[in-house]
């Protein structure tokens, strides 16, 4: 297992993957074109390549990394639940559902929220790694 890459590399790669997916989704929803199928195929190939890179970027996971990641994931899970709940309520509510003029815009909003949470995850990991998680 290579210790050249760390969990931070993996989290950064997650952000890049989600950002790429969001950009493709935005193009699909707001810039319709005859090349739509080509764009989706290109996205699928890139995602497969990025997932293959995930295993290479795994790095050395020792107990401190695992504990920090567990604490980070616990906080981010809470924010994810809140975000998805708000989006669900907004898209289902009678007074707010008009804000989402298509299912595609709901998808873009969900992906945007996931991107923000992924960035928060990396920030929290770096923060707890610097500050320590006990004492």
């Amino acid at each position: 297992m290579s210790d050249k890459y760390t969990i931070k590399s993996q989290l950064a790669l997650d952000i890049f993957t989600i950002l790429f997916t969001l950009l493709v989704a935005v193009c699909e929803v707001y810039f319709k074109s005859e090349y739509s199928d080509l764009v989706v195929s290109f996205w699928f190939i890139i995602i497969v390549i990025l997932l293959m890179f995930q295993s290479k970027f795994k790095g050395l996971n020792d107990e401190l990394s695992e504990n920090i990641l567990a604490k980070t994931n616990k906080k981010c899970m809470g924010y994810t639940l809140i975000c998805i709940t708000f989006i669900g309520m907004a898209s289902a509510g009678r007074k707010t559902s008009h804000l989402f003029n298509s299912p595609g815009s709901v998808g873009v909003l969900i992906l945007s929220s996931i991107l923000l949470i992924a960035i928060l995850r990396l920030y929290l990991f770096i923060y707890y790694e610097k500050e320590g998680i006990y004492n």
Binding site: T6, L60, S65, E129, E131, N135
Partner: protein, 71 residues
């Protein structure tokens, strides 16, 4: 409130060992050793015992709990 203090740095410097070398011997990252020496991380029992074995000493000699004076 009690805090955990370690003497890992003293033992390491006595044996002229670098943080990287100690990390490699116990199978953790160098950052973990840094956090342990600075008292920012409480190790698992296994890690504590592995480090104690490296320095041929007991866990109690490496780690001690100290009452923090809040006044």
């Amino acid at each position: 409130m009690t805090i955990l203090k370690t003497k890992i740095k003293e033992y390491r410097e006595k044996t002229l060992m670098k943080q990287t070398e100690l990390a490699k011997l116990v199978g953790v990252r160098r950052e973990t050793i840094v956090h342990l020496e600075n008292g920012k991380y409480n190790p698992s029992l296994k890690l504590a015992m592995d480090i104690a074995n490296i320095f041929d000493t007991k866990v109690e000699n490496l780690f001690e709990f100290i009452e923090e004076d809040n006044n």
